[in-house]
């Protein structure tokens, strides 16, 4: 045998009929299909309906035009709601419940809703996703219950805005090179020629603050895509104090920077002159640091799962 590791060899010997995690596979396939369907719906709405609608308007009288305007208002508000519900479900995180262990550690449980986005193939939301997550918190940890709650909420908020970014990215021409998205930012100034923003930063208690520095992005695309959450808006809608994320492209279309680990990653807060803003999406103001908990993983807490063999009915998914 070649010099493969024992793990590689065991995996390679997996019987074809071995059980698969159907839920995992369905999750991947659903996300892929949802992206395609929603982006094709958006393209259709933007392009095809425009000509026929305007052509028919020319021959109508004023009362008919008013009636049509009302119908359009109703239809678009309904559409906006449906997409809103799909893209921007409001995450909810319940109070922490604690169970002490003999070791001094404690099991904490936290109920969440809408932290993981799901939607049907027609773009409508599936039933609310309710999950309970369990952790074992080390005795003496600096993490408080409130920090834990904030950390989970931050992850939920980040999941939702990242999902919206990926949906909007699907509207860009396929294979557009050198495209990146920003983290959450607060608008400081808006003009026809530029948008000035400051980054949101996590604090040690899990809350978020706005950095003192400002970044001016002076190149706005001629084809700028502008959203308020899931609803298309005009650029003039944005105002100082709004929370946004942006999709940017290097002006030369090349991805020239890599992080320390070889991953292609342009620093979108540096060399802003080389970046063109392709899309702006207004998001709910972030309330919590999405990276708070991951800084403490396996040091202050570990994830646990209900089981019949462990103390208090839980087993560690991995060790401290």
């Amino acid at each position: 045998m070649k010099n493969f590791s024992i793990e590689q060899r065991i995996l390679a010997a997996r019987p074809n009929l071995s059980k698969q995690n159907v839920q995992f596979t369905d999750g991947v396939m659903d996300k892929i299909k949802n992206h395609e369907i929603i982006s094709s719906q958006l393209r259709t709405a933007n392009v095809k309906h425009k000509e026929t609608f305007i052509m028919k308007l020319r021959n109508l009288h004023t009362p008919a035009l008013i009636a049509i305007a009302c119908l359009i208002a109703l239809a678009t508000s309904g559409t906006a709601y449906a997409i809103y519900a799909t893209f921007f479900l409001k995450p909810e995180v319940g109070e922490i419940q604690s169970t002490p262990l003999k070791s001094g550690n404690k099991i904490i449980s936290i109920e969440t809703s809408n932290c993981q986005l799901t939607s049907g193939l027609d773009g409508t939301p599936k039933a609310t996703t309710n999950t309970t997550q369990y952790y074992e918190l080390r005795d003496g940890s600096s993490l408080t219950d409130e920090m834990f709650r904030r950390g989970v909420l931050g992850q939920c908020e980040e999941n939702i805005s990242n999902n919206a970014i990926s949906m909007i990215m699907k509207q860009l021409p396929k294979d557009t090179p050198g495209v990146y998205s920003t983290g959450p930012m607060e608008i400081k100034a808006v003009s026809d020629a530029a948008i000035t923003v400051s980054e949101f930063l996590g604090s040690s208690d899990g809350s978020v603050t706005v950095s003192d520095g400002a970044l001016k992005y002076p190149h706005l695309s001629d084809q700028l895509i502008t959203y308020d959450q899931d609803t298309k808006v005009v650029y003039e809608t944005y105002k100082p104090g709004d929370s946004i994320k942006m999709i940017l492209k290097t002006k030369d279309g090349k991805s020239t920077e890599f992080n320390d680990y070889g991953d292609e990653q342009y620093d979108v807060t540096r060399d802003v002159d080389n970046l063109e803003v392709l899309a702006i999406i207004k998001i709910p103001r972030p309330t919590s640091d999405p990276y708070l908990l991951s800084k403490h993983t396996a040091r202050d807490y570990v994830r646990v799962e209900p089981c019949s063999g462990g103390e208090a009915g839980f087993c560690r998914a991995y060790e401290f």
Binding site: M1, K2, F4, S5, I6, E7, Q8, R9, I10, L11, A12, A13, R14, P15, S18, K19, Q20, N21, F24, T25, G27, V28, M29, K31, I32, K33, E36, K174, D175, N259, D260, Y261, G262, D263, Q265, Y291, S294, K295, T297, A298, R303, V304, E305, P306, C307, S308, G309, G310, C315, R316, A317, Y318, E319
Partner: protein, 173 residues
């Protein structure tokens, strides 16, 4: 053209549903690979899922003359896992992610090698060693799920796993 290459071509040409085959084929190994890096099963599953989606989105850029699909997929996942560690300021055990991915990507064995390995797993003593190997590597179960099924602690599962792998290495050396 092998089956996998044909499927990749079909997916690129718009037969999205065929991508399911690739997800089913590589999901267990990829989740284990990510778990080895980030040390968190749930996070590993999330990263593996994101990696499959990114691979789908960029499948038309995949060049089979340069790397096997599994290697390419593992490189995507390795970089995502490392990025997750970096964002949360956790320690970084990997110096060269591509090299790491290449060393851990799924491989294909000849039929006789597969038969030898399956035979060695079935022959493990005590038989519970075979159970944990099959549950983890072939059925994709987490340590805690296996522990729950066998009514032991996750530490015990970890111990059995280490011994089982050591035994297999010895038998197959």
């Amino acid at each position: 053209m092998n089956k996998e290459t044909a499927i990749i071509q079909d997916v690129v040409q718009g037969q999205t549903e065929k991508y399911r085959f690739l997800v089913e084929r590589y999901q267990i190994g990829l989740i284990i690979h990510c778990e080895n890096i980030v040390k968190d099963r749930q996070e590993a599953e999330d990263i593996a899922q994101e990696s499959f989606i990114k691979a789908y989105d960029t499948l038309n850029t995949y060049d089979q003359s340069k790397a096997r699909f599994s290697t390419w997929l593992y490189r995507i996942a390795t970089n995502k896992a490392i990025d997750s560690l970096r964002k949360s300021k956790r320690s970084m055990p990997i110096e060269d992610p591509d090299d790491y991915a290449d060393q851990h990507a799924e491989v294909e064995l000849f039929d006789d090698e597969v038969a030898a390995l399956r035979g060695a797993v079935d022959a493990l003593e005590p038989p519970v060693y075979a159970e944990v190997i099959k549950a983890y590597f072939w059925e994709g179960k987490s340590y805690s799920a296996i522990a729950d099924e066998l009514n032991v602690s996750t530490n015990t599962v970890g111990t059995w796993m280490r011994r089982a792998k050591a035994n297999l290495k010895e038998v197959l050396a």
